[in-house]
């Protein structure tokens, strides 16, 4: 038995809550990623500045989630707060970001 297994045996976690939280985080990430794409395309960012903009935006979303949804106690809602809250689904939203980024760049600038 590893240390983590022992810890889980003492403090079991509720699987349905974990699924619900992951779903909520994933929804928010996808929505905000397309929103960042709209902003980046309208700003006319190209190449690396666009991706830096996206990373800065996801950091803001993480802080908002930390303050308003996790109420400052991420370990109460996430098994691994670092990978589930701060980095969760960051790269899953990247495709949606590029999609709206290129769309709005073309719509506004071309």
């Amino acid at each position: 038995m590893t240390e983590e297994e022992r810890q889980l045996a003492i403090n079991p976690i509720v699987q349905s809550s974990v699924q619900h939280n992951t779903q909520v985080i994933s929804n928010i990430r996808n929505l905000t990623a397309s929103l960042f794409g709209v902003a980046a395309g309208t700003l006319g960012l190209e190449s690396y500045p666009g991706f830096i903009f996206y990373l800065l935006g996801t950091l803001i979303v993480s802080v908002l989630l930390f303050m308003f949804r996790a109420e400052g106690q991420p370990s109460k809602y996430f098994h691994r707060p670092m990978s589930d809250l701060w980095l969760g689904e960051v790269f899953g939203g990247l495709s949606g970001f590029v999609l709206t980024w290129t769309l709005f760049y073309g719509l506004v600038r071309a």
Binding site: N11, P12, I13, V14, S16, S17, V18, H20, N21, V24, N27, I28, L31, T32, L35, F36, V38, A39, T42, L43, G44, L45, E46, S47, P49, G57, I60, V61, L64, L65, F68, R69, A70, K76, Y77, F78, H79, F104, L107, V108, R109
Partner: protein
Amino acid sequence: MPFLAAVLNTMGLVFLTHAIYSTHEHHSLTASSPYKTSTTAIPSFPSIPLDILIELLASTLALLTGIVLSSPALKPIQWSTWSSSLSRSGRKSEGKYTKENIEVLGEGDPFQFLGLDSVREGEGRRGFWDGRGARGEYVGWVKAGGKA
């Protein structure tokens, strides 16, 4: 809080649309003009007026806050906190319930939409019977005098 989120979302959408429209107008006006006013050193630096830039970023921030605030609340994952919050708030927090206060977990037949069954049963997969809740109701009924 839901009202604030709705206000933030609506305002954010309106101002974001306005900012995008302004950017489009700005570019369609300056693209044909011979006087290029803003030539910045960095080629990909936003070359839009400052007021549109501020409007765009502020509306994005408002929309972000609105989206986060309007999302459903997270549930505690620790079994102890989760069950204590359940017993405090009662089991009837969400989902569908039958007349006997039993939770309906699913519609039962996942292929109902095919219409192969001529008679719709309407029986869902049932959750557990809330024994503690029923006992609490019974105790309350006894304390109230035991009249139906």
